[in-house]
């Protein structure tokens, strides 16, 4: 007699608990899928053990783009460079952010990236802002897109709820993500040095 009630109670409490854990209940905002930006097929096999506890933020140090059309071309350029010139199995980042305010799917949540070397790649998601942010900052819409992506990661169980954000220069010897962007991410709530 009490078991369906107990089940209901348990379900209610679980949902309540999940609600408490989530930072904000916005659904995942659209990510431009690989097919749409005409990605070369990936030959990467190494999967990620989810959820990961870290996000590494970098910049491509290449050209920025501020329209969906130009960003689509730019993501292709980045992938071409990584695959054709550098010989990697795919673009090295899990996701890329354009100044058009859109997120572009790289290796995605499930496949290990090659963005931060050694042990970090197997324990983190790498997101990269397309552009060079030493002397200028990305626009607000790009930063919002990145934050939304990370919230989405938590909602999907790809990121731990207490994930940590690190700058690329925190984990490798590099200027990435650029002085200006690095200063910004240090103010993010999940940033940990």
């Amino acid at each position: 007699m009490s078991s369906p009630c107990a089940l209901l109670a348990w379900t209610f409490l679980t949902l309540l608990g999940l609600g408490v854990a989530q930072e904000d209940l916005t659904p995942c905002s659209p990510i431009v899928p690989r097919r749409e930006w005409r990605a070369l097929p990936s030959t990467c096999k190494q999967r990620l053990d989810l959820p990961v506890r870290c996000v590494v933020v970098s910049h491509t140090a290449g050209s920025p783009c501020d329209t969906p059309a130009s960003c689509m071309r730019q993501v292709q350029n980045v992938q071409h460079y990584h695959v054709r010139t550098r010989g990697w199995c795919d673009v090295t980042y899990n996701f890329l952010i354009g100044e058009d305010g859109l997120v572009y799917e790289g290796r995605g949540w499930d496949i290990q990236g090659a963005h931060a070397g050694g042990g970090w790649n197997s324990k983190s998601i790498g997101i990269s802002f397309m552009g060079n942010y030493m002397d200028r900052a990305p626009p607000q819409r790009a930063l919002r897109a990145a934050q939304s992506l990370l919230a989405c990661g938590v909602a999907r169980g790809a990121l731990s709820p207490n994930y940590e954000v690190k700058g690329h220069r925190d984990v490798q010897q590099t200027l990435s993500p650029g002085d200006q962007l690095y200063e910004i991410i240090q103010t993010w709530p999940h940033y940990r040095y």
């Binding site: 009630c5 070397g117 042990g119 970090w120 709820p161 984990v171 490798q172 040095y193």
Partner: protein, 279 residues
């Protein structure tokens, strides 16, 4: 009564949320006996100049330091018996290697900054679970056995004492009374043959140690590996840049096997330490 249950559930949920928020998350790795743990402890650049240590955390919270990286060399290794640390400061990761894991190795480990403070700075935590090897029941293989090398782990998870880890007090690579000279080898032979009837598992004849060759081939690597005589892999004598295996330090010897069931890569490259047979 029901109200109490509901409050109990609510309380549990609250506590679990708290635990999720506070403290360090643990990684988890599951291995079978005999395998080698390869683990990367990552750290940010603020620790690139620090030494790191690998600890085991006992029930009750007390931690035991198993190995730590040396101060002098940047990419350093620390020989601690079965624990090897290699700190790659450019990559921001310590490569931890634990050879020949046993079920007794199951537990909680962590990478910390060395020297270790009373409130240690923990880089990463790892929960290691070591399961029994496939010696008792035929377990399905992930890879189809193209050749037998895939199906057995080396050394196999038998009940032989060869699988026991050496006592922690062993400092260097040499053990007292184990000089590999012809006299001692004969002793080992006699001991081994005397104990044959009491052994619980018959050794594979293709694995038998050819004692008569030991005396004449102490520096070479022409032996056939044997589990039953109490051999365990040890460090040292890693292949030089040219690919030729280097000489083994001290009382270690290099093994080669004709038995295709053994993983040839494991057997050939390793230096082996001989210790007395204990039934």
């Amino acid at each position: 009564m029901r109200k109490a249950k509901l409050w109990g559930l609510l309380g549990m949920l609250f506590v679990s949320e708290l635990q999720a928020a506070a403290g360090q998350a643990e990684e988890k790795k599951i291995l079978t006996e005999g395998e080698t743990l390869n683990y990367h402890c990552v750290y940010t650049r603020k620790h690139s100049q620090s030494q790191k240590a690998w600890q085991r955390v006992m029930d009750g919270g007390k931690a035991e330091t198993l190995a730590f990286t040396e101060k002098t060399s940047k990419n350093s290794q620390e020989l601690g018996g079965r624990y090897f640390l290699e700190d790659n400061t450019t990559q921001g990761a310590v490569h931890v290697r634990m050879t020949n894991v046993q079920m007794s190795d199951s537990g909680l480990y962590r990478c910390v900054i060395y020297p270790i403070l009373s409130n240690p700075e923990v880089l990463e935590s790892l929960r290691l679970v070591v399961t029994k090897g496939p010696s008792d029941s035929p377990s399905p293989d992930k890879n189809p056995p193209r050749d037998k090398a895939q199906t057995t782990t080396f050394p196999p998870a038998t009940k032989a004492p060869v699988t026991q880890p050496p006592p922690k007090s062993t400092a260097g690579v040499s053990r007292p009374g184990l000089e590999v000279n012809p006299t001692h080898v004969t002793d080992v032979t006699r001991q081994r043959e005397a104990r044959v009837p009491t052994r619980r598992k018959e050794p594979d004849p293709s694995l038998s140690l050819q004692h008569h060759t030991i005396a004449s081939r102490l520096n070479a690597s022409q032996w056939v590996a044997s589990q039953a005589s109490g051999l365990e892999p040890a460090a040292g004598g890693e292949p030089a840049a040219g690919g030729e295996p280097g000489p083994c330090p001290g009382t270690l010897v290099r093994m080669r096997t004709r038995n295709k069931a053994l993983n040839p890569a494991e057997a050939r490259g390793t230096c082996w330490r001989i210790f007395p047979w204990k039934p």
